[in-house]
């Protein structure tokens, strides 16, 4: 795997609590992405970053925020977790954006109870 580490790999949390997922890369790629994967929906883009402190919304950004203070780290925060946010979350990186291949982390399985 192309130097991408997601943490934690599994998490169970209670409704209403804040949750932060971390994506760490060692590849010095400029672009970083957070997706969620749910049955029947494939991968849906939550937020992405095109540089340090440069982020933008994806298709399903409501209830999520992100931060990127360093090239290597991209954090996804669920401000107040809901059961609808139970999902598998994937981080991806790419060198020059959507015109090159993306490399994916192993995923974080989040369960909100």
């Amino acid at each position: 795997d192309a130097g991408i580490t997601q943490s934690p790999r599994h998490k169970v949390t209670e409704t209403g609590t804040p949750v932060t997922l971390r994506c760490h890369q060692t590849e010095n790629h400029r672009y970083m992405y957070w997706y969620r994967q749910d049955p029947g929906h494939g991968l849906r883009l939550i937020h992405y970053s095109y540089g340090v402190k440069d982020t933008d919304k994806g298709e399903v950004s409501d209830g999520y925020s992100v931060s990127r203070s360093k090239t290597e780290d991209f954090l996804l925060t669920l401000e107040s977790a809901t059961s609808s946010q139970t999902s598998v979350y994937f981080c991806a990186i790419s060198w020059t954006g959507a015109n090159t291949e993306a490399f994916f982390g192993q995923g974080t399985r989040l369960t909100v109870v």
């Binding site: 494939g42 991968l43 883009l45 991806a92 954006g97 959507a98 291949e101």
Partner: protein
């Protein structure tokens, strides 16, 4: 709504047969990519085809792109049990500045030994 949609949703074939998966998308693109996901794992990039290309090969993979019909196909020849996975198309949606990669819902391929 998602940019790319794969068809069929699921496909079951015998080892040695060819597998064809189709992808349709909605807006103009600069490129289209295909990814594979083994169960419980992150996505792995297979091939990228640019909007000015019509066909591309990589080993047993053949990808075609028809921009007039906004569609692409992925052909896996002489399939093997190890090809069992989900396959996703992804596009860049040229009106997003080339930053976002948007995925379809995927085709689940099962190759019987």
């Amino acid at each position: 709504s998602q940019q790319g949609e794969e068809d069929p949703q699921a496909l079951s074939i015998q080892e040695g047969e060819n597998a064809t998966m189709n992808c349709s998308y909605k807006t103009s693109i600069n490129n289209l990519q295909w990814y594979r996901q083994n169960s419980g794992r992150g996505l792995v990039h297979l091939i990228l085809i640019r909007s000015n290309e019509r066909e591309k090969h990589s080993g047993r993979l053949r990808v075609t792109l028809d921009t007039s019909k906004k569609s692409s196909s992925l052909l896996i020849t002489a399939s093997r049990a190890a090809d069992t996975a989900s396959y996703f198309c992804a596009t860049d949606a040229s009106d997003t500045g080339g930053f976002k990669t948007i995925f379809g819902a995927g085709t689940r391929l099962f190759v019987k030994a």
